[in-house]
Symmetry: C2
């Protein structure tokens, strides 16, 4: 009998003390196969396509649970909708090409370190951060 290998999210959801229910299995499958940044409505649509009957309230609750446990990342863009992406193994920041919309990931340990230094100097400890750099291709 064929069975999809449990996604890393499925494993981590249990480690986080959450239950791996049928609706969640579907939502995780959707998240795993998404390489974009879907909002709840879109996640719900995709989940419904796999298994009708899943309530949008469940999608909301699941995304909140996942976000609270750090298993996904919430992205609030300027369009008023909350979107999500699976948390990458290693943190990265984004270049966004303002002309093409293309997103390029990058990572700078030096910037990460500087952030730590500055936060510490302000008496803060960092929970998370987000750096989006809007760019244009040089020519």
């Amino acid at each position: 009998m064929t069975q999809t290998a449990p996604s890393s999210l499925a494993l981590r959801i249990k480690q986080a003390g959450l239950r791996l229910t049928a609706p969640r299995r579907v939502i995780l499958q959707v998240l795993d196969s998404a390489d974009d940044h879907p909002d709840v409505e879109e996640l719900h649509r995709r989940a419904q396509a796999i298994e009708p009957g899943i309530s949008i309230a469940t999608v909301y609750r699941t995304m909140n649970a996942l976000a609270e446990h750090g298993l996904i990342e919430r992205q609030r863009f300027d369009d008023g909708r909350t979107r999500y992406e699976a948390v990458p193994e290693e943190h990265h920041d984004h270049f966004i090409d303002v002309e093409t919309g293309q997103v390029v990931e990058f990572r700078s340990d030096e910037i990460e370190r500087l952030q730590q230094d500055i936060a510490r100097a302000h008496g803060f400890e960092i929970v998370s951060h987000r750096l989006d750099i809007f760019v244009r291709r040089k020519r």
Copy 2:
């Protein structure tokens, strides 16, 4: 008779082809004297204090108009409220206290420079950027 000098926003609003109405005058005054990041409800409260009768719908509409014309910056943090600040002379980044919602501005020339370096290495030139660091007070 005493008259407040027209704020830079008041000048720029006309240059943008928008009308400088009485409610807008008040809202601009509030924005000019704000050194925090008020949300619409707070802006409305402050505007009301100066001139009662201003509708919250007008605050919403004015802020949208200003943002569309680049005269203010919209900040959508993770607490679901949209906040605003006058476009600053000099760029800065944000610490957001995840517990209190408090926003603290900071600026690091070193981080700015690093971003330039990394962007250049990728063949990009920076248009703008946004760095939000979510923190918690150390104790």
